[in-house]
Symmetry: none
Subunit: 259 residues, 2 copies
């Protein structure tokens, strides 16, 4: 493997491996990077202090937050349901929709009105399962290797499967949303997939919880345009909303709820 990396590069590489396999061993890393275990331990300690991993005896584990999907889904379910309710208003009978991975998108599918008939394609098995609950939705699964952290198929095979689709709407899972940087994501392969999905659809819908506003991640999915509809929570700051509106995107605010 690469022998002399800058410490920052090495830490990025460790993060990549954490994302991929969920765990790293100090000994393995030391051998792979040809540095002493002390150096690796220092890296892991720093990363743990920065909240990038969980340090355990023998190595480090990926954080539960960015790992098992089941945890994320439960966390802010109430808020997501409200957001989802606003997003479903964009869906019309007979549409063909691609639904990207993401807990918010799962909430949207669960919130679909029972009578709506759609053709729904998705790369996330959990969303496919949810969609099958609806009698009038035709479900199409995008195949491929499933990335454990995304919880959905991404990569070459999944991108090939996308080629068969020309959806009326692409519902994208958001990672970061910023007026200038556009839509950005953390995981390279995931971003590459989202980018293709967004490009093939006639329109793009992004439902975005407030914590993702003004977040900028390393990889760009798409810039904002009039092809996009952004669904924001009720408590999203007006300043940010108007900033986003200036890009030409349609802004949809979720109704505030008492409770």
């Amino acid at each position: 493997m690469a022998s002399d990396l800058l410490s920052r590069e090495r830490q990025d590489a460790i993060r990549a491996q954490l994302r991929q396999s969920g765990r790293v061993l100090a000994g393995d890393l030391a051998r792979a990077f040809k540095v002493s275990e002390d150096t690796i331990r220092r890296d892991l300690r720093e990363m743990a202090a920065a909240g990038l991993c969980e340090r355990v005896y023998g190595g480090a584990l990926a954080l539960p937050a960015e790992q098992p999907f089941s945890v994320r889904t439960g966390i802010s379910r109430g808020r997501k349901q409200v957001l989802a309710a606003a997003a479903v208003s964009c869906l019309k009978d007979g549409m063909t929709v691609f639904v990207d991975a993401g807990s918010t998108n799962l909430a949207i599918v669960q919130a679909l009105p029972p009578g709506l008939s759609l053709t729904l394609a998705t790369n996330m098995p959990a969303i496919a399962v949810a969609a099958l609950e609806h009698a009038r939705i035709e479900v199409i699964a995008i195949g491929g290797r499933i990335d454990r952290h995304v919880g959905a198929a991404i990569g070459a095979q999944a991108e090939r499967d996308l080629d068969m689709l020309r959806p009326d709407l692409c519902i994208l899972g958001a990672c970061g949303l910023d007026a200038r940087a556009g839509l950005t994501g953390l995981v390279y392969d995931d971003v590459a997939f989202k980018k293709i999905a967004a490009a093939r659809a006639a329109a793009v819908l992004v439902a975005c919880t407030s914590d993702k506003l003004e977040a900028v991640h390393p990889f760009v999915i798409a810039s904002l345009s009039d092809r996009m509809t952004l669904t924001l929570e009720a408590d999203a700051p007006d300043a940010i909303a108007t900033g986003l509106k200036e890009t030409g995107a349609t802004i949809l605010r979720a109704e505030p709820v008492a409770g």
Copy 2:
């Protein structure tokens, strides 16, 4: 099996199994993780101290709150669970397995020991979701249009996806199992898909609840042969079992349980 897990990972795996089956036995865990029972006992003691499980003589039980699944799958879950437990003994570390649609197969995936590392391909989203609960399983989704009755992708696209696989084992969902007629099914497209899946694998495993024995359906999936392992329930009539055995297939009986 799971060769060397970090202690923290092992405890996470134990928690996963607790969520799944509600109980764990110290001896089983020790064998599964290849550590001494002392180590497992220490894990269980720690977890109990942290309020993650209830320590009992012989193992541990899930806390009532942490087991929402038990209700869902209902009573037949017990039978399928036992059948599944027998079936998983055919799976070895490092195998590539194709898992066909079916509720019994879903139970098998849920019953997989936590440490087992597999590559698992499936055309049923619900199985993919269940497989993602296991940290060391690489999941591959077979894409395509999802048949609402089967709950899985079948048809042209799914069959194309199968072309990329040469699994060591194909776990088929059974519809009808008869010594002379072989394995048969009701839905034409589903049978066509199963047929291809079975043909591509080095070996075939069928876990079959007793109600499917001696049933003959209109379409033939495969005839019985020495390439096949049939897992039967404990209460399956001996006459039928010996009849099946004469076809050359390997018969695996689930252990009867008390309570």
